[in-house]
Assembly symmetry: C2
Homo-oligomer: 290 residues x 2
């Protein structure tokens, strides 16, 4: 079914591990003899040059049908999304397995962001986790609804998200870890299906996105709160109602009032654009047997 | 001698602690009754809006006489440097004590960057260190030569630099620490001189900048190395000749070959612009008695 594997870097131009890693893999020919051909794409070339997340709009929110079929050329990332759709698509191109490389400023460690369009994605993530037990798996529901990410070009797609890493910085340890994840993913994609089945556990734990907590802002649009120090860096640690969540500029503290959950993307730089202070997930066990 | 104190935030538009903190101090009136008037300045207003270090050029390299006396209006930060010179200057305006708020992506903790134009600066830094022993003091020689920073507007000036903090992120703990440093600095500035003298230790340890290590790049201008994992986060820990320093894309390792020293700004995001992988300092003991 999968006839090509594409490793994408620089979907966000200030996340440096991807661009540097695809260049390295291309140069040292790591996967040049692979039974399924592996190719590489630097996605947001203009933003990468300027070390910015994006130029005019977030490329990873630009793969909607409206944009891909549209003709408005005023937004750089919309033009680039159409170009990438011609290279990797047309959407959906389910002969292609896409691995999109990202980083986060938050203390999430190594995570795999999985869309549940194909059982293969979760299986591949579980295979990685067997070899690298610290890896966590996140299932996003938002992407299901919006289908706007680069990974939405194929039903077979995963994003690697590693942190904490400041934007505009390369870290050797996280770089090597990302490379190790890619190798396991490609190993899995190359296995015959019966071998894949025996290589997998019965079930896997996933963090499923359920909610987002927004920042408060004043009339001028300025933030009036920041993540409370007791929550900072506590990604994947249970957040219960009544626990301190935001430190307000006026000195008061806002406590969490939702249902118990596991916060992720706590104080992520990129999410200030979307006004999101943190994301809440549920921990669920999912069977890998059909 | 000091007739005004100015606290500056947002000299780099993606370092968020400063802009948020000056807004908070202004709103809660922390220093509104101070015997020396305290005012506030958001320095790079345009870059702050775009959450970028700068728009056209680094504002904190734009306070040279050439730029301040120039008339070329094509670079935003040069225009803004002239405006700030009208507000805080004209350079040098030694009636003003400037505290410029910065952050770093590196693991440097809380540091004070001191220029040795006036004994007062080092004394004020030493006073802070007495109350907050983890604070480190860095003496920059480069600024002496170039005199291009916002702080060069007055001989009485200090920069607060706190990390590790990704650009575009506010951290509560570092925010509170920066506020504490400011309070100690203003306490010191308000003391009568004899009281200042008795409040200080005999001598203080400083890290004096001696060298910079540059990144190698290929013909296309792309980085061909990153900081080696064994050096990452090891700011202020002795770096000796022969220790691993850079991991090259081709798999080899470049060792440090200079004299033993204390590295700082290891893998700083902003220094990729200036191609600097790390800065080397010497640890020196300086007398505070004249």
């Amino acid at each position: 079914m999968i006839k090509k594997i594409t490793i994408v870097g620089g979907t966000h131009g200030n996340e440096l591990i991807g661009p540097y890693l695809i260049r390295k893999l291309e140069q040292d020919g790591s996967f040049s003899q692979s039974a399924i051909p592996v190719d590489y794409l630097l996605a947001n070339t203009a933003a990468y040059k300027e070390v910015r997340r994006f130029i005019d709009a977030d490329l990873n929110r630009s793969f909607t049908d409206d944009i891909l079929n549209g003709h408005d050329d005023s937004i750089y990332e919309h033009r680039r999304a159409r170009e990438i759709n011609r290279i990797l698509g047309p959407k959906p191109n389910n002969e292609r397995f896409i691995i999109d490389l990202h980083s986060t400023t938050t203390n999430m460690g190594m995570t795999l962001l999985v869309r549940d369009h194909a059982a293969f994605n979760l299986q591949a993530a579980a295979f990685v986790q067997q070899h690298m037990p610290a890896v966590k798996i996140i299932m996003s529901d938002r992407d299901n609804q919006l289908s706007c990410t680069l990974n939405s070009l194929s039903d077979y797609a995963l994003a690697i998200e590693v942190g904490p890493l400041p934007n505009g910085v390369l870290r050797h340890d996280q770089f090597a870890e990302t490379e190790a994840v890619i190798k396991h993913l490609i190993d899995f994609a190359l296995m015959p299906q019966e071998e894949q089945n025996t290589a997998l556990p019965e079930s896997v734990e996933i963090f499923k996105v359920t909610d987002r907590i927004l920042y408060p802002r004043d009339d001028e649009g300025e933030l009036t709160a920041m993540v409370h120090h007791s929550l900072q860096d506590k990604d994947f640690q249970e957040l219960k109602p009544g626990m301190a969540m935001l430190q307000n500029r006026d000195g008061t503290v806002t406590n969490y009032e939702g249902k118990s959950g596991y916060p992720i993307f706590i104080n992520e730089a990129a999410y200030y654009y979307e006004n999101t202070a943190l994301v809440i997930t549920n921990l669920e066990t999912v069977s890998l047997r059909s």
